[in-house]
């Protein structure tokens, strides 16, 4: 157990093989932790950048202690890097790299990932991608400042930071591709005896579909990245049309390219990417809801079907980000229809989760609170996607704070809450200790209120048309006048949010050393396999004392006639009746 968290004693450890054991480890649990720590630090850093921006928005031009007043260039750098870091260096590595890596092999009863060394390589690519991104702040004229979307021609004519951004992305994409191959092979090949596809926990399903999204959607962005690199380094003009005039006069390039080409390639990835941000979160929430309502997930098969459907459709809705680029009627009709269709499986999954609550015997612990918080917050975020998905209503809303509000509701009190829930839930698995409940409650309620204080006013600001990426928050526009004061509300809430992360950080580090020891390995009395593994799985290959055999579906809670209220998957009991138990006969 002491080995479970290298970083707490990173400096004192001079023992043999430290690097091999913790840095070049090929064990999925260690790699999961590496991902976890790195991603949390990036998340905190991305939050920090945003706090500086929120300071500027609330009080334009007022100097920030130690840093001085922001310039528009700095604001744009921070914005672009906040988006990039949160998405590619924070949430995805935490949701997929950390939780996926740690939990998936355990949940399917596998000894490790299918390709342990590839797994190590994924982490190292990710790490160096992050280093490249961060170091871009220190090159002349600073980091990328064309937004996380990096639209050319702006991105093509921007400064050196943009080149660093592109190289960073190439590394991160490579990392994700390697990871995706590994996950898919692991889930297809290394399932334990009896672990059929319809006995996989929903979390594993979510990771499985996510891996496919990464595998097939990322390469076109990589292609686009190469083309933009060529534009920047070889002076090609893939994204530059003829006849451009910049501040330095006519641009000396061949021309004939298309700025929209980048947008197509970018959003071909970036829409599936947003589902990469949400599916693992849904998986985590499902695990925790089933466990803490003490009943099977309602409509497990329907949920899996929705998940597959969602994954498939996410590839053909991308141009809903591009309605305003001058799209005609035919193509926009197609993308509006697919966008509306893709909202249905989300409604189905959300409904199923909510219905799962009905008839449960709900245990309210911190993990559960965060999972519960996810539901209405994702609801608001998802619902605000609808007016954006319809082209006419997208006209007033596109590129306003309404969009910012929409997706932050999904990713911040949505995904981040789910990830917090996951941390509280699997903490005993990793360390053999529990996190403090009181601090947990403070963390939850404080975050819930603060998050809404930040993101709801964004929706209010967006409707009158306040644009995003405005250095002064819309101060020059009179149509923003009625809502401009919300900037202060939002910024204050953001700092309050920071304040309420302190209990979490304290709780997290304290509990690693001092948390209450769990009495039994299966602390939450859960049914899934990770809790059947050795109490704190030994670091090093091998998770299970004996290879488990699986006898029934993942969520056999409160089975009538069974003495305890949970039947772990590797305990043979004849069951029938529930959605997931059906597969016993098949």
């Amino acid at each position: 157990m002491e080995e479970g968290h290298s970083h707490s004693d990173a400096h004192s450890a001079h023992k043999e093989g430290f690097w091999r054991r913790y840095w070049f480890s090929t064990d999925h649990k260690v790699i999961g932790l590496q991902y976890g720590f790195t991603a949390l630090l990036f998340l905190l850093f991305g939050f920090g950048l945003m706090l500086l921006m929120r300071w500027q928005l609330a009080s334009p031009g007022v100097e920030i202690p130690l840093l001085g007043a922001l310039t528009p260039e700095m604001y744009n750098q921070f914005g672009a890097m906040h988006g990039t870091i949160m998405v590619f260096l924070g949430i995805v590595p935490l949701a997929v790299g950390a939780f996926g890596n740690y939990v998936v092999p355990l949940q399917i009863g596998a000894p490790d990932m299918a390709f342990p060394r590839l797994n190590m390589a994924s982490y190292h690519f990710y790490f160096w991608g992050g280093v490249v991104m961060l170091s871009s702040f220190f090159v002349p004229e600073g980091a990328a400042k064309a937004g996380w979307t990096s639209y050319p021609p702006l991105a093509d004519i921007e400064t050196m930071g943009q080149t660093m951004w592109l190289w960073g992305m190439v590394l991160l994409i490579t990392s994700s591709l390697l990871g995706a191959v590994n996950f898919i092979v692991t889930i297809i090949q290394l399932r334990a005896e009896g672990m059929t596809f319809f006995r996989l926990p929903f979390f594993v399903w979510a990771q499985f579909i996510t891996a496919f999204l990464l595998l097939l959607a990322f390469p076109p962005l990589e292609a686009a990245g190469f083309l933009q690199l060529a534009d920047r380094l070889l002076d090609t003009s893939f994204f530059l049309p003829s006849g451009l005039v910049t501040a330095d006069g006519p641009l000396e390039v061949a021309g004939g390219g298309s700025p929209l080409l980048w947008q197509h390639l970018f959003w071909f990835l970036a829409h599936p990417e947003v589902y990469v941000l949400i599916l693992p979160a849904m998986g985590i929430v499902s695990e925790i809801l089933a466990n803490n309502t003490r009943k099977p997930l309602w409509g497990y098969r329907l949920m899996v079907a929705s998940l597959i459907f969602l994954g498939f459709f996410s590839f053909i809705v991308w141009a809903h980000h591009m309605f305003i680029t001058g799209m005609g009627t035919t193509i926009s009709a197609f993308f509006q229809v697919t966008t509306m269709i893709i909202s249905i499986p989300s409604v189905v999954i959300l409904s199923a989760l909510m219905i799962t609550l009905f008839g449960g015997s709900i245990r309210f612990n911190t993990a559960m609170w965060f999972a519960l918080g996810f539901l209405p917050m994702f609801g608001i975020g998802g619902l605000t996607g609808l007016p954006l998905g319809l082209a006419p209503t997208d006209i007033p809303l596109h590129d306003t704070y309404y969009v910012i509000g929409h997706f932050h509701y999904v990713v911040a009190p949505g995904t981040i809450f789910a990830l917090f829930a996951g941390i509280y839930y699997w903490f005993p698995k990793v360390t053999g200790r529990t996190m403090n409940e009181t601090l947990g409650r403070i963390h939850f309620w404080g975050s819930l209120v603060a998050m809404n204080g930040i993101f709801f006013p964004m929706l209010i600001q967006g409707l009158p048309g306040v644009s995003r990426r405005l250095f002064d928050g819309g101060l020059t526009y009179s149509f923003a006048e009625g809502v401009i004061h919300y900037n202060v509300v939002m910024s204050v809430s953001a700092f309050i949010l920071l304040l309420f992360q302190l209990p979490f950080i304290i709780n997290f580090f304290m509990s690693i050393k001092r948390g209450r020891k769990v009495e039994k390995s299966n602390h939450w009395e859960s049914t899934t396999l990770e809790w059947s593994a050795a109490p704190t799985p030994p670091i090093g290959h091998g998770n299970f004392a004996t290879v488990p055999t699986v006898y029934h579906g993942p969520y056999e809670y409160s089975v009538p006639g069974h003495e305890s209220d949970f039947c772990p998957q590797d305990v043979p009991v004849a069951l029938s009746g529930s959605d997931t138990a059906k597969s016993v006969e098949s």
């Binding site: 744009n76 929209l260 305003i324 249905i344 909510m354 219905i355 020059t476």
Partner: protein, 312 residues
Amino acid sequence: MNDLSKWMGMPLDASGHGAEIDIMMSWVHWLMLLLFVIWAPFFIYCLWRFNAKRNPKASYTGVKSKLSSYLEGGVVVAEAVLLVGFAFPIWATIKNDFPAEEESMIVNVIAEQFAWNVIYAGDDGQFGQTTLTKPIEIDTSDPRGDDDVIITNTLHLVKDKPVIVNLTSRDVIHSFALPNMRVKQDVIPGLEIPVWFVPKMSTSEFRREMAKTMPISGDQRRRAQYPPYRWIAMQDYPTADGSDMIAEEGQRLSTRVLTQLYEAGITEVYAAPEMEISCAQLCGGAHYSMRGTIIVHDTQEAFDAVLEENTF
């Protein structure tokens, strides 16, 4: 009652097609609200009713009813209605039903970092070439361009006269956003994209509608380095002794003027804003300040006079 637009804080609608969008916006939000209002009480009820203390034994089977399927079916139907009943026809009008050219005003807008260059064709109705210099100029070697007029950052229009704006950019992508007209169109170099609308409200009507007394505070000065809203005085403000004017009706209340008023002891002004053009796409450092205004004249004559003034 179906129109939530005011209530949702949508800006004053001054265009011909804006109402349709607003109504549609309202219906979408009604749908969202409805879904939320169905689920939220159910959610809260579950949390209360099925607390482990109140319900120590969970039910294995859970909900049997098909209610949620109906709800999901309902969502499908509602979305279909929104698509077929609203989205498709409105979008088709906006994209395809351009007004006849003879009856419309046609202007070219060339966006650049960080200005909106509005070009009027003049008497011959034809546009000439523009130069590749910065700032942009009319290419005098092109006879069609003789009478062309460039006005930067102000779009002059005539009330009730349809306008077709041909948008293009010389450098990066901008976005031509007119919140009051419910118009937004990305301006993409290499493409010339037309948008059209009908201004239904003149600037004087708009100002009257939006006019209000607003407080002047020392705050204005703190914001001095960032241009604050450009308000227009709706009445005369003479100096205390009446000998001079600090601000006349129709004059822009710059930070300097506001400071003078404040120092003259005036703490409230009766003023109105302009209709604005904002740039909605990140286009570089000064993206935030790429602001323009729309002036909708009551009559063609007033418009012509402005063009006259701007011709050399």
